[in-house]
Symmetry: C2
Subunit: 141 residues, 2 copies
């Protein structure tokens, strides 16, 4: 299994640590998340509670959907909402140390995976980019 | 090179044909793209001219950025704009038949690649998901 062995050697490089991952808090006003996601251009970012517990993911589309009426958009519709009101909570996560075969399987349908400790603490993310980098390296060497 | 051979066998399955790819036209009003991207939840979609020529990519963040003033958002700021005013035009594309090693290299930094003929016609996209699916299959078999 040359691919698996190659990826296993790179495994330690896959985790992007929590301090490098843009995130918002579950009780933040939705306007704050709207501004942040507009500025940083990441499609989806993690939502945390009390600074470190993983809650879910949020994207711009989840926010603009909350602005939609029957045939118009209204920015005021999100003034009274929080990140927790619109974020997606049912997302797959993995624990550290993670199993490479599980990561490869889950990354087929998810652009990245939140890495969460058994107590629910957010420790970072594993992204498709890091795996693609490894595959690209293995093919060229 | 077992990985490359494995991926080469799957190569024909990587292309998602143009008729299955959500897109907007370069001269569409920006409000139309705003509504579409809110409903379909894809992070970025292709922008075409005259139905079939590839122009670039557009995301919700590019639209909400055009709504931003110094310290507020105003939906009216995009009423007079078109998709062509905000879309990103400098994106890597590949031609059919594409080279797998080039695809793997470009997919490290791009979630998908538009496939464009030598006359500039949009023929579809190659996504990381399809490559991840192949890698996942090769590891498990
Ligand atoms: N500022 C930037 N600098 C360099 N490359 C950039 C970039 N923004 C996007 N990309 C490239 O585009 C890919 C898709 O980004 P997207 O924002 O849709 O989707 C991202 C985003 O939703 C999330 N993500 C990645 N890094 C993040 C971070 N530091 N903080 C929060 N979320 C992150 O994970 C998804 C997959 O990331 P991945 O790296 O595999 O894949 C990224 C990366 O290859
Ligand atoms: N409606 C849906 N059904 C099933 N899975 C879904 C989905 N929407 C998103 N996903 C999953 O999430 C990944 C990231 O989607 P995203 O919209 O950020 O980023 C997407 C999107 O910007 C674009 N894309 C993919 N398929 C598209 C299509 N049919 N039309 C337009 N754009 C498409 O290519 C990027 C990479 O796509 P990829 O398939 O590798 O990866 C997709 C796919 O694994």
């Amino acid at each position: 299994q040359p691919i698996l062995n190659g990826l296993l050697q790179n495994k330690a490089h896959f985790l992007i640590p929590a301090e490098k991952v843009a995130n918002v808090q579950v009780d933040n006003n939705l306007n704050h998340a709207f501004l942040m996601l507009t500025k940083i251009h990441y499609a989806r970012i993690p939502v945390l509670a009390n600074d470190s517990k993983f809650v879910g993911l949020i994207s711009l589309a989840m926010i603009t959907e909350a602005m939609m009426g029957k045939d118009d958009f209204d920015l005021n519709r999100i003034n009274a909402l929080t990140v927790g009101d619109v974020c997606e909570r049912d997302v797959p996560t993995v624990e550290n140390p993670y199993d490479i075969e599980l990561i490869l399987h889950l990354l087929v349908d998810n652009p990245f995976l939140p890495v969460v400790s058994s107590e629910g603490d957010f420790t970072g993310i594993v992204t498709r980019r890091e795996v693609m980098k490894s595959v690209n390296y293995l093919v060229h060497n």
